[in-house]
């Protein structure tokens, strides 16, 4: 005899279509809050301007390997805009849009990719986690943060982002389970940009969606158009509200596209068709938000020109700041290892400061 013991649905949400039209009914209020939408659009543009510059810096030898966020701007800004200062963000490595919103400086992002730990001592919320390279591990740090908030009865949420690739990893899946076990104030975002370096989404698994991984823990799990700022914003607000009010965790799959190479060390032409990329450009997030703002008379070409000029200026200033940062000093290899340097490391520090050149050869 068979009885149904559980049933689940995965829904997909889009409010702003690729042409910039609001579709469907029941739009969230933010869809017509043009002050805020304008603010978001400006930050998305700044993010893109920054990103382009960072790649240029890498190409001219002024920056190390850099992971572009081209195409992810709507999702990222939505994350940054809906989180509160006291919430805790555990990013992967390309969430600049969210982080800029939270107060991380562009010069700090550059410092990190410029091979300087000082970039991680950023101006964003001091409790936010650093960029995280070991894929998906950040999800469990966010779960731990959420646990801390819950144990201390704080109305704070932790938010983590993982890629489509990273969603295959046990860390992410264990975070879902942990969120379910303890009803954690946690939002787990799968930033599905279709590629994990050269591996397409279809090779990560054969499931219909990535959102459904949340069902493993019985978590509310949805898919949104990750190029639709309004949908991302709406989904984040809902999930954060749930988290902060003690109702537990959510999973949001944001479906977007990595318009760039994986990093500047990658050449995506080796493994993906230009056609696919061209098609993805039609769905990209800035164009559609701008179209909606323009159609609503909240934006125009003049404002666009001014914004672009302003972004370039701000990015250039950040680059100056970054380039002026200089060499951290050899003590930097030792002085942050422990609150109190143990004797063995103290001895190594002394020897290093004695025998090493003050700066590595060729440091600019």
């Amino acid at each position: 005899m068979s009885s149904n013991v559980a049933a689940f649905n995965i829904n997909h949400y889009q409010f702003l279509d690729p042409s910039g039209q609001l579709i469907g009914a029941n739009h969230p209020a933010i869809a017509r809050d043009f002050d805020r939408l304008t603010e978001f659009y400006e930050l998305m543009t700044l993010t893109r301007t920054f990103d382009k510059k960072a790649i240029a810096l890498q190409r001219t030898g002024k920056l190390g390997t850099y992971a572009s966020c081209l195409g992810h701007e709507a999702a990222q800004v939505a994350i940054g805009a809906t989180m509160r200062e006291e919430d805790c963000f555990a990013p992967m490595y390309r969430e600049y849009g969210a982080q800029l919103y939270r107060g991380v400086k562009m010069s700090e992002i550059l410092a990190y990719w410029g091979g300087d730990e000082r970039g991680n001592d950023f101006s964003g919320p001091k409790h936010d986690f650093a960029w995280c390279v070991p894929i998906a591990t950040q999800c469990l740090h966010a779960a731990g943060a959420a646990m801390a908030f819950k144990l201390r009865n704080e109305q704070r949420a932790a938010v983590s982002v993982v890629g489509d690739g990273g969603s295959s990893k046990g860390d992410f899946l264990e975070a879902i389970n942990a969120a379910s076990a303890w009803k954690l104030p946690l939002v787990l975002i799968i930033m599905n940009n279709q590629w994990a370096i050269s591996v397409p989404r279809s090779k990560q698994n054969s499931a219909q969606t990535l959102a459904q991984k949340g069902i493993a823990g019985g978590l509310p799990s949805i898919q949104v158009d990750g190029n639709d700022l309004i949908a991302c914003h709406w989904a984040m607000e809902k999930a954060l509200e749930r988290a902060r009010s003690g109702q537990g965790a959510s999973v949001i799959e944001m479906v977007t596209y990595r318009l760039s190479d994986h990093t500047t060390a990658d050449d995506a032409r080796r493994y993906r068709d230009n056609e696919e990329v061209d098609k993805a450009w039609e769905r990209e997030p800035l164009k559609r938000l701008r179209a909606w703002l323009e159609a609503s008379d909240a934006w125009n070409e003049d404002k666009q020109q001014a914004l672009e000029a302003d972004c370039v200026n701000r990015v250039n200033e950040a680059v100056e700041e970054y380039l002026a940062l200089g060499y951290p000093g050899n003590e930097g290899m030792f002085d942050y290892m422990f609150a109190q340097l143990p004797h063995d490391l103290q001895a190594q520090r002394e020897q290093a400061l004695r025998e090493l050149p003050a700066q590595p050869e060729g440091h600019h």
Partner: protein
Amino acid sequence: MANLTLVEAVTQALAWELEHDDSVVVLGEDVGINGGVFRATNGLQQRFGDQRVIDTPLAEVMIAGMSIGMAAQGMKPVAEAQFMGFIYPMLDHMICHAARMRHRTRGRLHCPMVLRAPFGGGIHAPEHHSESTEALFAHIPGLRVVIPSSPLRAYGLLLAAIRDPDPVVFLEPKRIYRQYKEEVPDDGEELPLDVCYVLRDGTDITLVTWGAMVKETLQAAEQLAAQGVSAEVIDVATIKPLDTETIIESVAKTGRCVIVHEAARTGGMGAEIAAQLADAGLWHLHAPVKRVTGYDSVMPLYKMEMQYMPSVQRILNAVSEVLEVS
């Protein structure tokens, strides 16, 4: 003042810190009402509640990763790996994050967590329950590795480990969890995390060891004394950072050294100690430095486990080899 076994001293230290520091939480598999499979957390959940002493799902990566997250957000998690054989899934987070949090962020965040695990063989336990892989942790920059070998040291070192603002791996030699009792005042006094303990003074040879092997090593020293050989016995206690000074000072006096550990020989911490002797201690050495260790083979199931681990006899054999050299 309580007369306690080593494992009871662990419980007493946990209770003291849970009582005196609200940010301390104990978490792991079965640490709650069951009190841990060795009863190291016995009674703690009953006393401090399930928000302070937390049973987790069965997921070691999660335990490590969440402990790091909690630690970075102002808590002091004391996580338990049920046996050292199940600690390996935690290595990734311990290496990539716990050990690097402070360095990576230039001190913006740090990671005041303790990872406790019972370790070592000799209790007739099933497969994977008898490991001694402390060297894996000791090689990782950013971690402290501490191994108590008496109730008193278990209490004082664990208090220090929990209070330390950086991550500490705290390995408990389970074979001697209940070997003997000792008066352990519950005074909240910690012990330093960077010194070796000279358990027995001697002039002819230095025996360096830690964990449960302290037992066999002291027994060997007894037997040597009966033969007129005066052996100094050092309990390393804190494996990393290593208190090389105490060891070299001792060898400066005795001129001879045998290192004893349960772990496999190649790349064990005995190698590091011998290497320090081959460098700063070289001129003190009157004889080769011998290591009496587990073999470079898998810790066998229990029929053979006592054959795998250093015995008093194997220690004596090595000592006599070293003493023969003049």
